[in-house]
Symmetry: C2
Subunit: 343 residues, 2 copies
Amino acid sequence: MEERKKGLTIYDLAEELKLSPSTVSRALNDHHSIGKKTKKAVKKLAKERGYRPNAIASSLRTNRSNTIGILVSWINRPFISSLISGIEKEARAKGYQAIISQSHDSTELEIDNLQALYDSRISALIVSLAMGTTDYSHFDLFKDSDIPVVFVDRIPDMLNINKVQINNFNAAFEATEHLIEQGCKRVAHFGGASHQSIYKDRMLGYVAALKKNNLEVDEAIILNANSLSEEEGTRLTEYVLNMDNPPDGIFCANDKAAVSAIQYAKKRGIKIPEELAIIGFNNDPICEIIDPPLSSVHHPAQEMGKAAVQKALSMIEQNGTSETNNRVILDTHLVIRASSKRK
Amino acid sequence: MEERKKGLTIYDLAEELKLSPSTVSRALNDHHSIGKKTKKAVKKLAKERGYRPNAIASSLRTNRSNTIGILVSWINRPFISSLISGIEKEARAKGYQAIISQSHDSTELEIDNLQALYDSRISALIVSLAMGTTDYSHFDLFKDSDIPVVFVDRIPDMLNINKVQINNFNAAFEATEHLIEQGCKRVAHFGGASHQSIYKDRMLGYVAALKKNNLEVDEAIILNANSLSEEEGTRLTEYVLNMDNPPDGIFCANDKAAVSAIQYAKKRGIKIPEELAIIGFNNDPICEIIDPPLSSVHHPAQEMGKAAVQKALSMIEQNGTSETNNRVILDTHLVIRASSKRK
DNA sequence: CAAGAACACGCAATCGATTGCGTGTAATTT
DNA sequence: AAATTACACGCAATCGATTGCGTGTTCTTG
């Protein structure tokens, strides 16, 4: 068995079986117009010879690449890598390949990568935007070509696009209210770039929770960082703790910065959660490692990837059909740990 | 500008310019036999019309897909996601796409994914094996087709294959000796599946360090886990701490299990590093989060990805040429933190 | 000034699988 | 038994870019 595989085509099989390539192709694809015995014979030989279809040739002819493009900022971040894991799993289960690309949070690179993905004639695209992207015209290429684009996580603030998201407002509201329930009277917020709707919504949810509970909304302790990195977390924490009227709670829009907030506060001898309660966002693995363990909002990364693929594939199928429901919203829930639990 | 992009081909451009498709193709590719003015005119129109080459058609004709396949166990692990990040970056810089697939540590799924990647006619393959894979015949498909395969991280224990690796023996030796230098007299080892050479080498390096320092090699505290998970880390730590003669140091073959060792030992009231010094492997981000911070072996994940791509591309270029140096070994170094620092 | 070189471009085949249409044979119907 | 219908398969075009070979034009040189 398995004689040669290099360049083995349906023509070779056809010749050996004294059949035409069309018949071989149809037999392999279980076309109804091919006889049962013929199908069996073709498949048998194909297996013996180790025949493998050339997906490239098939793609060219059928104009379907069965490929899903993924564009994210960085692959090696806990949330993103889980998202991609979910995408890959679902895509492969449906017979699609997953092509990845990283923008490194640069809009310029984002554009370059989009070109390359388009050149590959991907069947659909799943995107989490670069942090600085505010103009979305580089996605027109896909719109014009009827290639479905599904936005996840960091999504444009527009209507009429497909998006899979969580309810950031509610999640932030719950997280903030949780801090308030634990007795916090003055809660600070560390957010991301406010032009990104996920960060804006988290901020708005935070504000709404304060208002509902009749707490003052003080802009002085609503701080946005372009990248919520460790350094930023430390810097912002230092900043608020040096205030005359420091906060007694922090709602941070990601876990990375929240962890460095804990580390810095501990270094200052501040007791967590008694003097400063902290809650993060994403529920990264580090939440359970840090001491005290960090409360957070569980973000269903893998499920989000799966939902994005399903959305993309359904778009491909009903290509062009007026799609009413272009939003998928997934549930989050609070994971309360010691960093915020006073009672 | 940018009128229609859907299905715009070189034929369309050719017609508009009263040229032949061949000339358009050559002009776009800067072929020497095309006049300067013609090239300029073609490129100008291509840009105006938003022409984008169809990579699929090109691949079929040239028999080069410019695609690198990646096969790993799980994408959402710190080491792996950094590895992939490095692969993607280097691949894209060289004009290649990166297709990912996950084996979920199942040999069966590994085989399925390999088929799919082969069907896509990837130009090269970069693999980190599933934990349980011991037979490698499913890679013959690629060998027979002259598709370069580069193994990284978890690699087969064979000669005549391309591999990019670190010196696991040395790294483990240094890590173990470090513990001994810190005063440990009885060092345990938590390792992975011993048929995987990286784990075997780490174990051998550990043993060599003990012998060199005239310490007893006690098989009772050399423990292998199929997956070095949090649970396993806890279980193994509990096991050794309950011994009549518990260890005063642990060299763990990954960070995840080392972290849970710390957590469990702390829960038992054991002082780290005074009573139990611990060092891990990989230098994952969690090392700096855990308290006390975990010493570890820095594993150059991104660089490993980059090196793997370079190796793969060089194989593609000198296709078939006898390749003498089929191993690339990258440097590691110890990152000493509080979990092992007694002096 | 003639001949060879350099230049500029087109023709048509090719990569491998798919598919609309057509043809011949066997099975079924009235 | 003649006429439909179903069945089984082949021909040739097609997807879009690439490329070996050939042709006509312009330039250089002895």
